[in-house]
């Protein structure tokens, strides 16, 4: 994508329908042209009663000096009133971006501006007559009575300070899971990444000679142990007042550039593949569950 590109995607998942949305390869935002508008990617999706949306695009790549705005709005509509769990709409959303190219553009995280906003709201009747909860004012009609339950906004200003902050990480990923149809995947994530591992199979229980120097008694995957280059955390958030006993799960991942193939313009490819190798097991697991449970006619 180049300066001035505007991509708008409107998705509606009707009652009890299931939809998988993905992309062929990473979206690339190229260097911005001075005087032109920013690259804008807007995705609006509505998931109706009992529906399931699986929004898993490939990561967004922000090359050096790119100016990109990404806005994802999900509205979960209906299904809460009946009180039956199977009527609740479900969502699995992956939002991820990379720091660009190591060997070009002056290195990673040299983007100019990257704004990404992801909101999930529940559409109710007469909950909030004012639409203050939704930050995008352009679509007032459809968000007028929405209760915002999740809002993740990140605005990156690239450069060496951002690169310093990101340490060796090249990819940042967020996975949002809401609803009964992704409950199994969500609980898998929660089990693995939300709490500490009490004991690690009884092996290697000695903490070394000096425990204060050796912090590796933190057991489990995704704890930035040496050579691992992966940081994973997982937590829950409340999905609103009406369905107050329901919780959504958000998984956040930062993955490192483990290897950089420095031979061509796809210098980032290696890191993406490494990340895929680490991440694909979850996605595959999620997809399998999804297909097994819901794709049978």
């Amino acid at each position: 994508m180049i300066s001035g590109d505007v991509i708008e995607l409107n998705i509606a998942v009707k009652e009890n329908a299931k939809l998988v949305v993905t992309s062929q390869s990473t979206s690339k935002a190229f260097k911005a042209v001075s005087g032109r508008n920013a690259t804008i990617v807007k995705t609006k999706a509505k998931v109706c009663k009992g529906g399931l949306l699986f929004l898993v695009p490939q990561p967004m790549q922000c090359f050096g000096n790119s100016v990109l705005t990404q806005d994802t709005q999900i509205i979960m509509e209906g299904g809460i009133e009946s009180g039956k769990e199977e009527d609740y709409p479900s969502l699995l959303l992956v939002d991820w971006y990379t720091g660009g190219r190591e060997n070009l553009d002056g290195g990673l995280w040299q983007l100019d501006t990257f704004h990404t906003t992801t909101t999930v709201s529940y559409s109710h009747h007469n909950l909030f007559p004012r639409e203050e909860d939704v930050d995008d004012k352009s679509d007032e009609n459809s968000t007028a009575s929405c209760e915002l339950v999740f809002r993740d906004a990140t605005r990156l200003s690239g450069g060496k300070i951002l690169r310093r902050h990101m340490r060796d990480y090249n990819i940042v990923c967020m996975v949002v899971l809401i609803g009964p149809k992704v409950k199994e995947v969500a609980s898998t994530f929660m089990k693995q990444y939300s709490s500490r591992h009490t004991y690690d199979d009884g092996q290697d229980q000695s903490f070394g000679k000096n425990p204060s120097k050796n912090m590796d008694y933190n057991k489990g995957e995704g704890l930035n142990r040496s050579g691992e280059g992966l940081l994973v955390s997982c937590g829950t958030f409340q999905t609103g007042k009406e369905n107050r006993y329901q919780e959504g799960v958000v998984v956040r991942i930062a993955a490192a550039t483990l290897e950089i193939a420095g031979n061509d313009i796809f210098a980032f490819k290696a890191s993406i593949e490494c990340f895929f190798a680490l991440f694909s097991s979850f996605i595959m697991h999620a997809s399998e569950l999804f297909v097994r449970a819901h794709w049978n006619p």
């Binding site: 508008n37 920013a38 809002r151 906004a153 300070i161 310093r164 204060s212 912090m215 937590g235």
Partner: protein, 377 residues
């Protein structure tokens, strides 16, 4: 032992283990005749605002130049003209009570991602000293706080300072324990603000720490300041139900502190400085208790951070509040209906709340995965 002594660089001149240190570090070539060569402080500890430099550029509005600086001449002009506005003088003794470390709000139980960053090896001590790597991490957290939660703090403070005080005379006359209906409208708006902050705080650990401190703060200040007690108690009632999910809102740190400051008539700038100061102070204290740095160096770190916070507030944040105020003063002339259409100033402000440091958010949640932990968040 020499490692720990090495972190107390303020004490090195009269350190009994100097010789040990000198011989150890001299062997690795970093020591020159008993003087530890520290990384130059000015270079590393210079507060950089790069992480938020592009935060307030409006990409989606084509009429705003994408590449123009957010701090343009208009902003500065509005800054100078509205700074002359007389803000009611608040006794500094009141401020000292608000940021007193004795306030039992429970801030000392939280490291604000510092413990996770330390245990997950994200504090780089191979190139920098502990103090410098702590400084850069705490500064990242402060910048992230400034863009993500400070808008809510300011909105809450502004709400109570301007709207509550306009009706405070009525309250004093009636001397009623329960707030007046007019105040209920303010409380409803505050609840809205708090709920918005809840959905913006996507980390359950950060949310837990924020709500615990928020309700602790309301409790502490409702007793400490009897003259604002009825309203603070009313806020507390909305947050404290049998189960947090049954409450109208959860009472976050920023919105609660903002409300108390607003009720005491404190201006936004002071409120914001105090909030960022307590955030920095709690993190430095956590670092001292984790034995990453010594208490003396902790003091130095707090001092450096305070300089940076002052710069952050005056140079980067203040003109944004002032712009809000300018907009609001324009709104004052409009009818209430028009104002609703435009959204109140607090809505406009918090709509742009965002993170600038992706790793901080990941670290916040990762805290629950630590095998041993000293802090709650």
């Amino acid at each position: 032992m020499s490692e720990h002594i090495g972190t107390l660089d303020g004490q090195l001149d009269d350190d009994p283990f100097m010789e040990i240190l000198a011989s150890r570090q001299g062997a690795s070539g970093t020591m020159k005749k008993g003087v530890i060569e520290q990384p130059p402080l000015t270079e590393i500890r210079e507060a950089s605002f790069d992480l938020i430099s592009k935060s307030y550029i409006m990409n989606s509005a084509p009429e705003n130049g994408i590449f123009s600086s957010p701090f343009n001449a208009d902003g500065l002009q509005s800054l100078t003209c509205s700074r002359s506005k007389a803000v009611k003088h608040v006794n500094p003794l009141t401020l000292y009570q608000l940021i007193d470390s004795c306030v039992p709000s429970g801030g000392f139980a939280h490291s604000n991602t510092l413990e996770a960053a330390h245990q997950l090896h994200l504090l780089d001590t191979s190139k920098f000293s502990w103090a410098d790597s702590l400084y850069s991490h705490i500064w990242d957290v402060l910048l992230n706080t400034a863009t993500s939660t400070v808008p809510f703090l300011i909105a809450s403070c502004h709400l109570f300072r301007t709207r509550y005080h306009s009706s405070s005379n009525n309250l004093a006359e009636s001397s009623n324990e329960s707030p007046l209906p007019k105040d209920n409208a303010i409380i409803e708006q505050w609840v809205l603000l708090d709920n918005l902050l809840r959905s913006t705080t996507t980390s359950h650990v950060a949310s837990r720490s924020s709500t615990t401190q928020g309700s602790g703060m309301l409790r502490a200040f409702s007793i400490a300041f009897p003259h604002i007690s009825p309203v603070v108690k009313a806020l507390k009632r909305t947050t404290l139900k049998v189960h947090s999910s049954l409450a109208d809102c959860t009472g976050h740190n920023a919105t609660c502190f903002g409300a108390v400051c607003g009720l005491l008539g404190i201006d936004e700038e002071t409120c914001c400085s105090m909030f960022l100061y307590t955030t920095a102070r709690d993190m430095v204290n956590a670092a001292v208790r984790m034995n990453l740095i010594g208490p003396l160096e902790g003091g130095r770190l707090t001092h450096d951070l305070c300089f940076a916070v002052e710069k952050l507030v005056t140079e980067e944040l203040l003109n944004r509040f002032e712009r809000e105020e300018t907009k609001e003063s324009n709104c004052d002339s409009e009818t209430e209906e028009n104002r609703k259409d435009n959204g109140g100033p607090e809505v406009l402000d918090v709509a742009f709340a965002h993170q600038v440091c992706p790793l901080i958010e990941i670290l916040a949640n990762a805290h629950d995965r630590l095998y041993t932990r000293l802090f709650n968040s």
